[in-house]
Amino acid sequence: MLPNLNNLPTYDTVGVNERISRFQSRSIKKSAKVEGLKLALSMIDLTTLEGKDTKGKVQQLCYKAMHSHDTLKDIPTVAAICVYPTYVAIAKEALKGSGIQAASVATAFPSGNSKLQVKLDDTKYAVEQGADEIDMVISRGEFLTGNYQYVYDEIVAVKKACGKAHLKVILETGELDTLDNVRKASEIAMYAGADFIKTSTGKIQPAATMQVTYVMFDAIKDFYLKTGKMIGMKPAGGISTSKIALQYLVMLNEMLGEKWMNKEYFRFGASSLANDILMQLVKAETGMYQSADYFSKD
């Protein structure tokens, strides 16, 4: 049932920024840094969502996912590959036996402007193609006109269409305008059956920010205290450096804690982040930075 959205906590932007500045000023060095970097690498959903995607591009990305930097020992693989539904089968085949998940966007991504049946067909198609995870978008237009029931019902329907696949619900926070709206949308998504809530499609600016992630963490925490159910979180878009990724992990560590500090409950939606992390890991091992050309770009 649609939760009561009238007495949700409110957020004060100045206060949120102040708290975030505390996370950002944590100094992560030495062994803690290496540990954090490896963890961040294991949480990445390596993503390609372009109109010009091809079989070749997807296969190359999958290879990169499995062999991110073979000269580095003891590094984890990324968590998943995220593609459009038409490339799921190709990714699935390429990733066979690697343990890396195949995720697919669906429901008329990225705008979500289509009728429900089309979105459900889109979802079912992706699942049939072998998607382990579905990243859906909510109907922001309906949300902003106050039609929360519609948004809720749609997520419930998509969740059903997912079957065994995990459902990540993209709020597209860059279009929701206020932190209070982000909280409201998080609440709707979690009660409607989301396994993960996700900030952005990556097609709208601003994409993920620490502010909206803060609010979504807070929603996840309160949801757990009410229901005992752990929901995952995925900030996506705009997280391109190790430094920013570590700041997100500090926030995750201090707000949700160790149970969420793994790829089952936290993901980064990013494409260029992986190479920056690899570069930092090589630096930690050898003591010097290498040229970006030593890290493969796929």
């Binding site: 100045v14 000023s25 803690a32 005992g228 560590n253 949700l256 804690g257």
Partner: protein, 486 residues
């Protein structure tokens, strides 16, 4: 599914990230700064200054006797003749120079402040030192504009200002005192607290470097007796004191019947009021800033928390969970949230109050903290189920101890907030602007913060009502204590 309230435990331990101390210069022994020179104390007596995080001696500090105070006051008097006649623009130049020199050596000051006083480097680096520099910048700007500060009045400096400052914000308090005094043409004899003399003495080095005329600022170190010698000196024209209410009362008695001007900034027991319509998470952050900032060694700390009953459970639960993530430890580590208690004496005071709270039946809550060996440490502490009748609610503890009460209505909370001999600070948390303005009228506190706490700015006056003292420091109002009218 079962719920585990302890599930949110942070287990990613950040590696040590200590700020380097290689770049700081500390002498083995510090002398008195009188008449522009470092001179040995007349009685050749010295005392130790201690690093409160490991009890190790940092340096020897000279103890000024009443003979030394005589010399310092005489030097200040002599310097007053020419300094007070200098055009404001020229005075301003010196003050600007001091401000710039503090900025240039900010890192060194921050490290020494944390080393000597125990406060986390995050605070000394981001708050104490930059604010101290901006106070000098701010008052440097007023030096040549005094006729605009007091329109249609002819202002004159008071003379020699005796200034006695506390150990909680050593350099910042020195800046609060010295900057407005110099801008208005006074000369100064300043005494830092005996546990935290180092940054004031480093400031003396900067003052020497700035070329400020000899004797305009004199810095003398020592304990209570040295302070008393300044207060009782016949040639001192003004006393500015920041510290405990007990000493403040003594000073007011000692200066009664003399021509000395007096400003006092004393203790407090600030009320931090959380309404049900507040942004709760940010209010929780505000509570943490209000009471755990600088280990609670803050005269304007929000040490009495009032939470509206309808949200009390959720606020307390969130506050406890936030406190679990506070890192107590080495003040020089960049990840430290709460540093060392300033002195063994203060630690004992705090522990005595915690015992009193327990004996009175308060329900205590402290997160699990791992402390380093040695050093003066105190975990952040809550006392729940207390009332206005508890001693820990009435008296200033000056440590990381928060007394939590609930309330139902606005009238009730205003009455309770004002029901204290103090009147320094208060905080109000609500999303309704009208409520904030309504309360600022009704709370007897020198500073009322709306949806924030412990925010300071040189342009904003600071000071108290009732036993929290009188006179204002900072802003335009801060000039008033250092001038007289023709």
């Amino acid at each position: 599914m079962s719920k585990d309230k302890n599930i949110f435990k942070a287990t990613w331990a950040y590696a040590d990230a200590p700020e380097s101390t290689d770049h700081i210069k500390i002498k083995k022994q510090y002398e008195l700064f009188i008449d522009g020179e470092f001179v040995k104390p007349s009685k050749k007596k010295y005392f130790d200054t201690i690093d409160p995080s490991n009890q190790k001696k940092i340096a020897s500090i000279a103890e000024a006797s009443s003979d030394d105070i005589d010399k310092a006051v005489a030097a200040a008097n002599k310097a007053f003749t020419s300094w007070s006649k200098l055009p404001g623009k020229e005075r301003g130049k010196y003050i600007f120079r001091i401000a710039r020199l503090i900025q240039e050596r900010a890192r060194e000051f921050a490290v020494i402040e944390s080393l000597d006083g125990g406060k986390p480097i995050r605070e000394s680096r981001d708050i104490d030192i930059p604010l101290a520099a901006s106070h000098f910048f701010y008052y440097a700007g007023w030096a040549d504009k005094l006729e605009y500060a007091f329109p249609n009045r002819k202002v004159k400096p008071v003379g020699v200002a005796g200034q006695i400052i506390p150990w909680n914000f050593p350099l910042l308090m020195a800046a609060w005192k010295i900057a407005p005094a110099l801008a208005t043409g006074n000369t100064v004899v300043l005494k830092p607290a005996e546990t935290t003399s180092l940054t004031a003495l480093k400031l003396a080095e900067i003052i020497e470097e700035s070329g400020l005329p000899k004797g305009v600022v004199n810095i003398v170190t020592g304990a209570g007796e040295t302070g008393a010698a300044i207060v009782n000196h016949p040639d001192v024209d003004k006393i500015a004191f920041t510290g405990s209410t007990g000493v403040g009362k003594y000073i007011q008695k000692a200066t009664a019947g003399t021509a000395k001007k007096l400003t006092l900034e004393l203790g407090g027991k600030g009320a931090n009021i959380i309404f049900e319509d507040a942004a709760i998470d940010q209010a929780v952050e505000g509570i943490v800033n209000a009471i755990f900032f600088n280990q609670g060694h803050v005269c304007c700390a929000g040490s009495r928390l009032f939470v509206q009953e309808s949200v009390a459970d959720v606020v307390i639960q969130k506050l406890k969970s936030r406190m679990e993530t506070l890192i107590v430890g080495n003040p020089l580590d960049k990840n430290t949230d709460i540093g060392a208690i300033n002195s063994a004496k203060q630690l004992k005071t705090i522990k005595d109050y915690i015992k009193i709270g327990l004996n009175e039946g308060g329900e205590i809550y402290q997160p699990n903290c791992k402390f380093p060996k040695n050093g003066n440490w105190c975990a952040p502490t809550l006392f729940l189920n207390v009332s206005q009748s508890h001693r820990i609610v009435q008296e200033e503890i000056f440590g990381p101890v928060l007394a939590v009460q609930t309330f139902r209505t606005i009238d009730e909370v205003v009455e309770k907030a004002n029901n204290t001999p103090f009147g320094l600070s208060a905080g109000v948390w609500t999303q309704k602007g009208s409520k904030i303005f309504n309360l600022t009228q009704r709370l007897n506190a020198g500073v009322v913060w709306g949806n924030t706490f412990n925010k300071f700015d040189p342009t904003s006056p600071f000071g108290g009502y009732k036993e929290s003292g009188f006179g204002r420091e900072g802003g335009l109002h801060g000039l008033r204590g250092y001038v007289k009218f023709d």
